[in-house]
Structure formats: C-alpha cells, structure tokens
Symmetry: C3
Subunit: 335 residues, 3 copies
C-alpha cells in the first residue's frame, strides 16, 4: 500500500468529475495489489468481516466474477444478488431491494443495471438514509462503466511505468477508440479518464454509431482533446494504443449497420490496418470479443500486440483497489 492514502469519495458512479489525485491514488493502490496477486497466497485481510453485495440486475459473468474475486482476496464476505430468482419479479422496487441489502449489513453495493442512473439513484437514497454504504457502479445502461475505464487506465500506465504508474505516462499519447461509441458505457468512461490524463482521444465509428452531435451529448465535453473520425485510417495514424469496443449484434436489427462483414471490412481492427500506428502499438478490448468482427482473431492472440489478458488480470487488482479505498474511507468513519 502507498504509505499515506487520501480518499474521501464515498461512491464511484462516474469518472466525469474525477480529480488527477484520485486517479493516481487508484493507480498506486492497484499497483500494490497487483504485486499481492503475484504471490502464491493472494489474500489480504483488508476487508475482513465487511460485506460486499453484488447487485447485478443485468446479467454478467466477467465483471461479476472479477468483483467477486477482488472481494474474496480482500477477505470480505460476498452476497450475490441473482435477478432471475429475485423479489423484483414480485414487484419490489429497485430501491427497496437495495435497502434490504443495506439493512442486512452490506458495506459496499456493486450495482449493474441496464438503465443509466440506477447506481446514482441508489447512492442518493443511501446518503439520504445516512447509511455510510458505498455504491460502486459496475455499468449502467449506456452511461458509464468506471471500473472498466480504470482498469484500462491502469493497464496503459503500468505498461509504460510498471513501478510507478501515474496519469503522467499518458500525456500526449494518441489513443484511438474504435467501434460502437454511441452505445458504449466503456467509451464514455474512458473518455473522461484518458482526457484527464492529457491523452489525445480519437473516436472512430460509422456515422450511425458516432453521430456528429455525439460530443454534445457529453456533459462539459473536453473538446480540445477529443476527435471524431468516420474513417478508421485517420484515427489510427500514429496511434499509441487502439481500444476496440464490442459490437452488439442487435445494432443490425436496429438498422444501424448493414452487416457484420461490412463492419469488419471498414472498422474491424486487423494487422494490416495497424500499419500507420506507432510501431509498438498495443490493442485493448473490454471483452467479450466477437472474433472476426471488431477485431481479427490473430490479433487477439498475439501477445506482442494484445493487452486483453492483462486487462482481465489488472481488472482484479483495480477492483481490489476500489473496494479497498471505499472500505478505507469507511474505516476512518469507524475510528
């Protein structure tokens, strides 16, 4: 652990107003947990006796497992809320469900929901009740997915400086985000963290998935460092990093795309397409990937190019850091 940690935020809902110090605290805390994970015994007693409840109203294996493992490695107790077998079908409101877990003694609620704003609404209710419970947004609709963007950030910064990852490392770097920007909570969260780091963020997608007015949909969009491309080649030119996004197949049913094949031909990332990038360019993908659609299969499997498996590994360390910092701020309240 960093010797002195300053952390005051009770909920992690969005990165839109994150301060550089907060990013750096997370990066450094994650770096120390990353080191714990390389030991044979990968557990620390930091959250012993605390309860983390996973409220995944939208199903997920990857993110839920990652949070679950992070919580277990901090020695917390975990409650998994299974929407299928839940009281929701019995007409209970989401806030009442959350309050039930609060009343059971949950210290941190990790919330995923298909509708934007649900984690915020729960957090406001928790604060109104002066409960001290923390809410961690694990993805809400097309709004934000902060822990994904933070693990992406950690993956990039710790690649560039393994011993001391900080926001500084990304200053002036060119990062292309390619894919269904319009519907992507991953892209939204990454826009805040990457521009906060001083990176140049280049968004690339077909016009239906990246309308001219996209920037206007962002609150206080940092226009200066954000660029929009409908042509993949210009977005990739000189890029240090390329983030591909998962293409939801339902976009075609919505007439936003002609076909997966055409999408791949124009916006799929392939070895050939990467030629105008920096020679040491690296690829990220939040997973799960459609091989041969948004990214070619051989790229995914090339350890010299793909950071995908590091993203997953770092995901556990970053989520340990987030749970730890939220628990830490709570511990201070106890003392």
């Amino acid at each position: 652990m960093p010797k002195t940690i300053t952390w005051t935020r009770r909920h992690i809902l969005s990165l839109v107003d994150f301060m550089p110090d907060e990013y750096n605290t997370i990066l450094q805390t994650a770096a120390s947990f990353r080191e714990v994970l390389s030991r044979r015994t990968k557990k620390v007693p930091a959250l012993q006796g605390q309860v983390v409840a996973n409220l995944f109203f939208e199903p997920s294996t990857r993110t839920r497992s990652s949070f679950e493992l992070a919580a277990k490695r901090l020695s917390a107790d975990i409650l998994n809320f299974a929407p299928g077998t839940s009281s929701l079908t019995k007409g209970e409101t989401i806030l009442d469900t959350a309050k039930t877990y609060l009343a059971m003694g949950a210290d941190i609620l990790v919330v995923r929901h298909q509708a934007a704003g649900v984690p915020l609404a729960i957090a406001q209710e928790m604060d109104r009740l002066q409960s001290g419970t923390s809410i961690l947004n694990a993805g809400d609709g097309q709004h934000e997915h902060p822990s994904q963007a933070l693990l992406d950030l950690f993956t990039l910064c710790s690649l560039l400086n393994p011993n001391n990852p900080t926001l500084e490392q990304l200053k002036g770097k060119k990062i292309a985000i390619v894919g269904d920007i319009l519907h992507s909570r991953v892209a939204r969260s990454n826009i805040w963290s990457l521009t906060a780091a001083g990176a140049q963020v280049h968004l690339a997608a077909p016009p239906t998935l990246l309308p001219k007015l996209f920037l206007d949909t962002l609150p206080d969009a940092p226009n200066g460092k954000l660029f929009i491309h409908w042509n993949l080649a210009t977005a990739l030119e000189g890029a240090d990093f390329v983030m591909t996004l998962r293409l939801q197949k339902e976009r075609m049913a919505q007439n936003l795309l002609p076909s997966l094949r055409e999408y791949h031909q124009q916006y799929g990332i392939t070895r050939d397409r990467l030629k105008p990038c920096q020679p040491d360019v690296k690829i990220l993908h939040p997973g799960p990937a459609n091989r041969g659609v948004e990214i070619s299969s051989d790229l995914m499997d090339d350890p010299n190019l793909s950071l995908i498996s590091q993203q997953v590994t770092n995901g556990v360390a970053v989520r340990m850091a987030l749970l730890y910092l939220l628990g830490y701020s709570k511990a201070n309240e106890y003392n």
Copy 2:
C-alpha cells in the same frame, strides 16, 4: 452469548409446539449476535468447518441471502442448491436430493419448498437415518415460516427492551395482522409466537382471504387470544403493532379480490387508518412489499413508524442464533 444455553430441539420446522424457554433462548442469543453485527468485524468462528446447505426449491433472494450471510458470519461453509440447474429436472426425488447433501457432509439443511410439509418429511428421513443433521424450515407452502416469525418477535421484544428481550414484553399487547391471512405462512407462524407471548392477535382481511372457519384450520387454535375481523378499523383500534402481509397478485386471478385498488381502499395501511391505534404504533412487513397496495409508500419510508429495515437487520441476527443453536446441540453430541 448467554452464559448457559439449554437447547435440545434438532429441527426447527414449526412454532406450533415451541415452549417459552425456547423463544427466550432464541431472543437472548439473537440479542448477543445483534451486538456482534454492530462491530466492524462482524464474524465469529462458532460454526467453522460446519456445512450449511441452502436447499431452496422455491426461489428466494431475501431469505436465502439472509441465511447465507448468517452462516458466513458464523464462519460456516455454505452450499447453495439452485433448483433451476438441479437434478430435480432429472427425476430425482426431493428426499434423494436432501440425502445427497447429507452424504456430502451438510450439518444443517435450510429448506424452502412450495409445498407444505416438505421440511418435515426431510427431517423425518434424516432422523430415520440417525444422521444428526438439522432441518430448518425457511418457508413451506402456506404452512409455516418460523424464522420470519422469530425475527418479527425479536424485533418487537428488543424494541421494547433492547438489553434483555423476552416474551414477557408482549404480554397484553394488541397486534393486528392485516392481509392475505388464509394463504400466509408468515401469519401462521406469527400466530403461534405472538399468542405464546400472551399478546392479543387480531387478524384482519376480506372474508375471501380470512374465512369464518379459518381458526378451525389451525391445529389447537389458541382461540382465547385470537380475533377475526373483516373490518380493518376494529382490528386497528388501540393496536400497539400492525403487521401487514404481502398481497400476492395472483389472488385476483383466483377471483378472491376485485382489484388491487379496492383492496388498498379497504385494507391498505395508510397514515390515516392508523389514527385509532396507539400513538406510538409501529408497522411491520415481511417484504417484499407492494407499495401502494397493502401499505402506502410514505408509511414504509417513515422511520418513526416502520420497523421494516430493522426486521431485515434482525433477520440476520436471528438466523445466526438459529444456526448457532442447532450447531450447538450438534456440538454437544460430538463431545
């Protein structure tokens, strides 16, 4: 923990034959666990190495999570039986499923089933096999839900005497239970515990959900202290506590109710309706609630009136007490 505990019951299936001493032992054990739960580290090693299997043939989030957390805080290992992915669809009998968990080494089986009597049948089979395994009924059909009634009892008694909750506190209190009495296992279990405490229990519901002959359906009904009302006002007059029950929406399809709206108008608990009650009346609800049907939304959220969130909190403490006492009786057998 109380210094000396006497507990001999191996299974908790029904409250019909519970003795005052048993109620008081549970209340006092729960009180000490309630204190544990207010600490930062909410765990005790009481059931370390023992296995609690949650056999929930009927889906449930709330009760299952409560038992799961209670077991975790006693340091037990938990097995969750998921009916959807189970051997039941392969034609295995319920008793064979239970015996599989017995053979795996389960010490306590927490059983919920949509049919009345299943926990009893499993308990009888466990005893026939001289297994020493305990069965805890977590709700069986329209029969009983003992742990819910015990947490209700604990909530009432510890409100009246936080340091030393006993049955005594409820002597002569007037408690109204309002709603779908006929189909409610919660009501049935509460009838036994509350009348055992010497409370006056007033049941209120439309005639279709509380037939004249209801008392005859109870084994050895304690008629003296049980009253039936088809008119809410008389049931609430002078009441110290009001328990509302969840209204299953399928009752309308069964032609037992005209509409949710009419039900609310006649039997829904609202601030206005509470006027004839005692000035410090409190409301309970087993959850999940239909806001605006059996209870108005503002009442649910009023911390001066609603005990709902305390019920959930106490649920964990009471279930810890039940698991502890069953495990305790087992420990004595080991010695």
Copy 3:
C-alpha cells in the same frame, strides 16, 4: 497425507493412460482426506489463496456442489461460472471464456461440457500459453468423467481395505456395469480404472445401448478383461459389485428403448435379480437415480446393499485429493 507424494500430471482429463502409481496416490490421498472429513472441523489450509473456477457449461448440482465443497475444505477461493448468465450468449468462444478465468488468476479450472473433448482443448490452450493452470474434467459429453470413476474406485477399494486402499484389492473381482453403456461417460471412465486394477468388468445392456462393436469404439480396449452381455443374468452371476447407470429418459424418444417399464423388467436391478451374485454383493449408482427404473427403490435404501451414500461422501474426499494433487504439483513449480 502420505509422507512422500509423487505427482506430475498437470491435467486430469481421462483415465485411459493412468498408471497404477497414480491411482494409488489418489486412493491414499483421498483416504487421508476422508479422515479429515470425520473430524468436527473439516478444513485444511492446503489451497489457501488459490483459486478454483468451476466452469460448468452443462448444468449440474451434484458434481458442482461436490467440487465446491472439496475446494472450500481445502480453503481455496471458488468462482462459479453460470452458463445461463454468461458471455457465451454474447458470442464469446469457450477458449476465450477459459482464458478470462486464467487471466483472473484461476489455478485450477474444473470443466464440464456437453461436448466431448472440450476439457482437452482448454488444457492444450493453457499449455500453449505456458500458464501452469490445471484442467480437471468434470464430465465431457459421452467421453469421460474421471472424478466419478475415481470415487467409485475409492469406494470399492476402501470398503475392502479401509486403512490402506490400493488397486490390489480389486484384482480378480467381478464387477458388472449395467445400463446405458453406449452413452455413459461414467462407464467409459470406470472401464479404464477397473481394468487397470485387474478386475473383470462385465457390461450389460440391451443391444441398442451396447452394440456389438462397442469395444471397437474404445481406444486400445483391454479386451481381455472386458465382457459384453445382452442378458443381465449372466453378467450378474458371481458378481462382487454391481454398478447401475442412470437411464436418460430421452433414449426412448430416440427409439433406443421400448418403454421404461420393459427396461426395468429386463435390466432393472432388484433384490431378486441379485441372487446369483456373491452373497455380500454391493450396489453402486452415480446418481441421480430413477427409482423403479434402473434400480428398485428398496435396494437404494438398503444400507447393507447400497454404497450410494458412501459414493457421495467419498466424492468430496476424492475431489479434495484431486484438487490437492494438482495444487501440489503447482506448489512445486513455485518453489
């Protein structure tokens, strides 16, 4: 634990090439864990901090619970992969799913899949990546179910010699396997372990479920000790042990069987049918059983004849042994 253990196999995928020393190491390790399970505190810290991921693409309660409990009793952390709520529905490949768990830090993947060969394919990918992760086949299509055959083996050997179970005990014993041999991964795995022990294995089933050419479907079938019967009586004559297999009801829809009733009349195991067996014959069944189809109800419940509940109990001990040995080989790599 045996004082010195030699174990070098990284994956347990099939028993076809298992060596006698490997069987004996498992039997002896399981025997020592069986002893642990009879204590009040049934936990050892052997796999503390290691992660066991249950990847059950095919649903299962019994085998998954058994592995989960085994892992918990070794103090490992467990991740359960739930196929219903998984990324698979999002088009992710099985190998990508497995690699996600690898990247999260899983040390052992327990894999069940409806298609034969999936655990092998994952193991090959893990080795290609030099990950050191172990794969344990928990049942793949109609191919193999090694942990089931090993618990059957342990049940037989430890019945004959509780203190020192070894392959030796089964030399020359006659073991009948009765039922749907053709489609049974349990039968296939048992064929390898039992013939390796020098037992005489007699397979009995209707011709549709045990075609003449069945032996040709086995790789290097040990013909010398394997016998095929279409008549149950000759298979049972003088048998020391009878293994019944679960009859999948879908076999009738496939026109492989006339009716369950006729199947029971000709191949169902009943007390009467056992008369030509050895006087101390014992029955095994991998569960879940169809009472009254492949086995009569009274036989299942007769503790003098049925080893079924011992199989379940031993299943936990044997799976602890398998996870321990795989973790053990890994620990050596760390040192």
